[in-house]
């Protein structure tokens, strides 16, 4: 994903709703995907994504251009999603499971469909919901968003070695799960 232009950010910071809508359009699916993959369901993803964009709106003028806009928005998104996930876990007790069903409609990319796709989606959810949320967030940023270690470290405000160890533990666990369930696919 390319970073959006400085002028657009400044216009939005000055209250131009059209500019803010352009920012929303550019980032909505990235924000929503991260939120959905971390919280595990649409209801919480909706809440997290709404929080994210209201926060972005609120803090735009203070953005300051010191990090890339992408890093900044990913940081706000990860924070919001992890916060909501933790709140929900506390409310519901230790194990909250990810939605088993896939919402019909706009959740699947139009170019891939059918039973294989649904099966893959189930596999992904099965993997993610069994990880602690800090490992899950790292893995989502790495595998789904394609971020480099350095970027993940900036987004989550952790050390690069922490990124490494979280990814390592997450993958070890998933390998064990895939093995005990007779393969990942």
């Amino acid at each position: 994903m390319n970073d959006i232009s400085r002028t657009l950010i400044i216009r939005a910071a000055e209250g131009d709703m059209g500019a803010f809508e352009e920012i929303y359009t550019a980032y909505a699916s990235y924000v929503y995907t991260i939120a959905f993959r971390i919280t595990g369901n649409r209801e919480d993803a909706d809440e997290a994504a709404q929080d994210v964009f209201l926060n972005v709106y609120r803090k735009l003028a203070g953005f300051g251009f010191r990090s890339s806009f992408k890093t900044w928005i990913y940081r706000i998104t990860s924070n919001a999603a992890i916060t909501i996930y933790r709140k929900r876990s506390k409310e519901k007790g230790r194990n909250i499971s990810f939605d088993e069903t896939i919402d019909s409609g706009h959740s699947i990319e139009p170019d891939i469909g059918g039973i294989d796709r649904q099966h893959d989606e189930k596999t992904v959810r099965g993997f993610l919901w069994r990880l602690p949320e800090d490992q899950r967030a790292c893995l989502v940023l790495r595998e789904i968003e394609g971020l480099k270690y350095e970027e993940i470290a900036q987004v989550l405000k952790i050390k690069i070695n922490t990124v490494r160890s979280r990814l390592k533990r997450a993958r070890e666990k998933l390998i064990a799960i895939a093995g005990s369930e007779g393969g990942a696919r």
Binding site: A13, A49, Q50, R58, G62, F65, R66, G146, I175
Partner: protein, 156 residues
């Protein structure tokens, strides 16, 4: 390199493409002769492939509507004025630094208001100062540092 170290790298930098060519070569060489490590790599790659090919999820149409309404009804003010920035800034400080932070923030307003008009420039400046305070806050000095000068006096 031993298998344990190799597997650590396989599960991290190797499959994520974060290694230099040099180490990558060593790993490839090891993999060619070690079925155990090869298996770990295959399993890790399978899982990575599932996740990497997973669908991007679009938000519902109603999401933007809700955001727009909240903003237009004025429930979400821009924090582009200096005072709200400072208020936020004080709320997150640890108590021990609050008075210093307040003193500093006031000094910053006094010093800057006269010649900085661009809110973005000003906010950048404020952010840099906040980072500096974070740095102090993280035990790298600060109010009880050993300069012998009260923290506030450094700014006033």
């Amino acid at each position: 390199m031993r298998c344990k170290k190799i597997r650590e790298l396989i599960l991290t930098d190797h499959i994520d493409g974060e290694l230099s060519g040099d180490i990558s070569e060593k790993i490839e060489k090891h993999l060619a002769s070690c079925p155990g490590c090869r298996k770990v790599k295959e399993e890790a790659m399978d899982i990575a492939a599932s996740l990497r090919s997973s669908a991007r999820i679009d938000p519902p149409e109603t999401l933007w509507k809700g955001i727009k309404e909240a903003i237009e009804e004025g429930r979400i003010p821009h924090e582009n004025d200096l005072l709200s920035g400072i208020r936020d800034f004080l709320v997150v400080r640890r108590p021990v630094l609050v008075s210093a932070a307040a003193a500093f923030a006031i000094a910053a307003v006094v010093l800057l208001k006269s010649y900085v008009y661009d809110p973005l420039v000003l906010n950048t400046y404020m952010e840099q100062q906040m980072d500096f305070l974070d740095y102090l806050d993280n035990g790298n000095g600060g109010a009880d540092g050993d300069t012998g000068i009260p923290f506030e006096d450094l700014f006033l």
